[in-house]
């Protein structure tokens, strides 16, 4: 490991937290404007985290306290690690060569798993019901998610994210496989709100039904860690979609001849803009315009409809490649 990579490894998570919270703030603001409210200031999530960190951390009497306290750390650690595998625009991923899309899949699952285990460990009936729902939901959306990743492995004959980011997917697929990739993109967009536990799939945290579910007993620092891991994961998920499906760099579109610092600045801003667009489309717009599904309705959506979309997409890719 070179010092360069180490520097990245420290800078990226800090940057990831910052960007994750900024995107959360933008998301709240845009959602408020869509429902004719003024909405909180963009920096509200920072204040929320700051306040939560100052608050007392209560551990319920009948909770398994070491498990209860460990899970927020694992959740945050897994979403931080997730960031290290994602190539930011023209930058290479810091942990390039140490893992690939399969690891990304595991890290995405790990965070939901940590929340579910934390819910079971907190010993409250609301949390237990929430954790059960989260497990059911996870089993439902993992299959389409895995299908998308297999589809990419088929195209590139590799699971490496840097390989995928270096060559835009659209330049190496034919028309049939291209159609397949579009279907995989749609499937991934539908999985996104479930993966991030946002409406209409925030069933595990349903406020009016089970009082925030898995998070019901969490408070203070532990809740802040979950909040941060949620923010980072939101950003990472949108970034992942950009890397997989919208990899075009600004210089390749307009044939710009940029070098050095200006190249990195322009491409970084362009990358962040693309992530913002995906974030607003897949999270903000969806969560503003849908009601919450019941768990069995959500399961049916993923097992039947989204699976069909993803599998047809995979079949098209397989035929096209």
């Amino acid at each position: 490991m070179t010092p360069n990579i180490l520097a990245y490894a420290f800078a990226f998570p800090v940057l990831g937290i910052f960007l994750g919270l900024v995107y959360k703030g933008i998301d709240r603001r845009v959602s408020a404007r869509l429902t004719s409210r003024i909405g909180p200031p963009i920096r509200q999530p920072f204040w929320d985290v700051g306040k939560l960190l100052l608050k007392e951390t209560v551990v319920p009497e009948n909770a398994i306290s070491w498990l209860f306290n460990a899970m927020p750390l694992i959740a945050l650690a897994s979403s931080m690690t997730l960031l290290l595998y994602i190539p930011f625009g023209v930058l290479k991923a810091p942990l390039e060569g140490y893992g690939d899309l399969i690891v990304v899949l595991y890290l995405l699952t790990l965070q939901s798993l940590a929340m579910a285990i934390g819910g079971f460990a907190s010993g409250s009936p609301f949390s237990s019901v929430g954790a059960q729902r989260e497990m059911v939901l996870m089993m439902s959306y993992e299959m389409p998610l895995a299908t998308v990743i297999v589809g990419f492995a088929l195209i590139y004959r590799s699971f490496s994210l840097t390989t995928i980011a270096s060559t835009p997917v659209w330049s190496i697929v034919g028309p049939i496989a291209g159609l397949g990739v579009i279907m995989l993109f749609i499937a991934l967009l539908i999985v996104t709100p479930a993966e991030l536990a946002k409406l209409p799939f925030d069933i595990a945290e349903a406020e009016t039904e089970i009082a925030e579910g898995m998070l019901a007993e969490y408070s203070g620092r532990n809740l802040a860690l979950f909040y941060l891991s949620d923010a980072v994961r939101g950003f990472a998920m949108a970034a992942l979609e950009v890397v997989l499906f919208i990899p075009f760099t600004l210089s390749s579109i307009f044939n710009l001849n940029l070098t050095g610092a200006s190249l990195y600045t322009v491409e970084a801003l362009w990358f962040l803009f693309k992530v913002l667009v995906v974030y607003l489309l897949a999270v903000t717009l969806v969560r503003t315009s849908f009601a919450r599904f019941r768990i069995e309705q959500a399961s049916r959506i993923f097992w039947v409809y989204v699976n069909i979309i993803a599998l047809v997409g995979l079949a098209l890719v397989w035929m096209g490649v």
């Binding site: 009936p125 019901v129 059960q132 409406l199 009016t208 039904e209 009601a291 919450r292 599904f293 019941r294």
Partner: protein, 412 residues
């Protein structure tokens, strides 16, 4: 593997509840296998307070029984009192009363639609409906000076007249709600997710509705055509042919579920708009109070011996007030209130049994419960389960106050 049962307490404080009540559910997975409803968290002793005050003060108090349909209780109060006193409000006052009551029905139903949208997790719809509700609240504020507690009614009339400017605002509002309600029909009734969450949920059959004595929109959603405005017409309703709205009129079939409850309430907004339009077009001229002087009114109450029952179709169902004036004091000797939520909450236990955890908020919300209306009695038991009588309770309360005063060192 053993079957695991969870005990889920909903309430007295819970995000799905706007007021305190307790639902205790035993859950297997997502399915509810045992349920118990406990009420009595919001008892305030308003009837008792009213029996210690004069009739006008009690009328003021009756407006505070319910926080949302704040004119329904005064309406039943004045109708019942007038029957007991043997007076009648002038025609103009009767029409104004009806207009105010229907304005309130509009705002209460829109409020409910927003709440039920929130319960199924559709907060955008909540914001949108409540934005539309502002219009009727503005009109109410223009007419009465207040958004919620209007203080419009008086025994034998109303306290404020409708001016030309008010009628203009009302006409404007009618046009607004004709369009707004059409949009609401599209948003609620045609939305697939809303339908998926409410169709078949909280399904109350006709027989069950009769068995639990359901009233108001809950009973009408189950297909029972019952409405005080149609069955025992009073005030301007006697001049208007009001027919209770039931789902079979609109779509031809009855499910009796939360979706039908939505249907009934949305079409009742249309009906209310029609009634208001009729009332302002046919508003009679004349005075607005039968006995304009309050001192004269109170002395008449003091001289009167009699009893009366006032009933009004509130947004949630029938409100019934019973009065007895005994001729010795200027307030009611007996005042008894029957609120619709008391009957409608009976439907929770049978509806929740076998339902899913995700359905709890919808079942709880679909009757539009009002806990502070429905709590008429509070019973305290000691550790051995014996009921503590009121004298003992009073003595204990005095003792506790003394003890606290001593601890805090309060000097008389």
């Amino acid at each position: 593997m053993t079957k695991s049962q969870y005990y889920i307490p909903i309430g007295p404080i819970h995000p799905a509840l706007k007021e305190p009540i307790r639902v205790e559910a035993k859950v297997e997975g997502e399915k509810i296998v045992e349920v118990d409803v406990k009420r009595g968290f919001a008892h305030r002793g308003i009837e008792y307070m009213g029996m210690k005050r004069n009739a006008i003060q009690a009328l003021y108090l009756s407006e505070r029984i319910c926080g949302i349909c704040s004119i329904s209780h005064p309406y039943a109060f004045v109708v019942g009192s007038e029957k007991a006193l043997g007076i009648e409000a002038p025609p103009r006052a009767q029409y104004i009363r009806t207009i105010i009551a229907e304005l309130e029905r509009i705002h209460s139903h829109i409020l409910w639609l927003g709440v039920v949208a929130h319960e199924v997790g559709f907060d955008s719809l909540l914001f949108w409906t409540w934005k539309g509700r502002e219009k009727v609240l503005d009109v109410l504020e223009l007419i009465s000076g207040n958004r919620i507690n209007y203080s419009m009614y008086m025994i034998g009339g109303v306290r404020r007249d409708l001016k030309e400017s008010h009628i203009k605002a009302l006409k404007e509002m009618i046009d607004y709600y004709r369009i707004f309600n059409q949009e609401m029909k599209n948003l609620f009734l045609a939305d697939p997710v809303y339908k998926a969450r409410t169709r078949g949920v909280a399904q109350l059959s006709k027989e069950m509705a009769l068995k639990v004595n359901a009233v108001g929109p809950t009973a009408r959603a189950a297909g029972l055509r019952m409405d005080i405005r149609q069955d025992i017409p009073y005030d301007a309703y006697a001049d208007i042919e009001v027919r209770g709205i039931v789902p079979q009129d609109i779509v031809g079939e009855v499910y009796g579920d939360a979706y039908d409850a939505t249907l009934v309430r949305i079409y009742e907004i249309d009906q209310s708009v029609d009634i208001i339009e009729y009332c302002i077009d046919n508003l009679p001229e004349g005075k607005i109070m039968a006995i304009p002087n309050y001192v004269v009114l109170l002395s008449k109450i003091k001289r009167t011996k009699g009893e009366g029952i006032g009933a009004h179709e509130a947004p949630r169902g029938e409100v019934i007030h019973y009065f007895k004036y005994d001729g010795t004091r200027d307030g009611p000797a007996v005042w008894k209130v029957v609120a619709p939520s008391y009957n409608n909450i009976n439907s929770w236990a049978p509806l929740l049994l076998g339902a899913e955890v995700a359905d709890i908020p919808v079942v709880v919300a679909y009757i539009d419960p009002c806990m502070c209306c429905n709590d008429r009695i509070a019973v305290v038991r000691d550790s051995s389960g014996k009921i503590v009588d009121s004298t003992t309770l009073h003595r204990m309360a005095v003792e506790k106050t003394m003890r606290i005063k001593k601890e805090l060192g309060v000097k008389e």
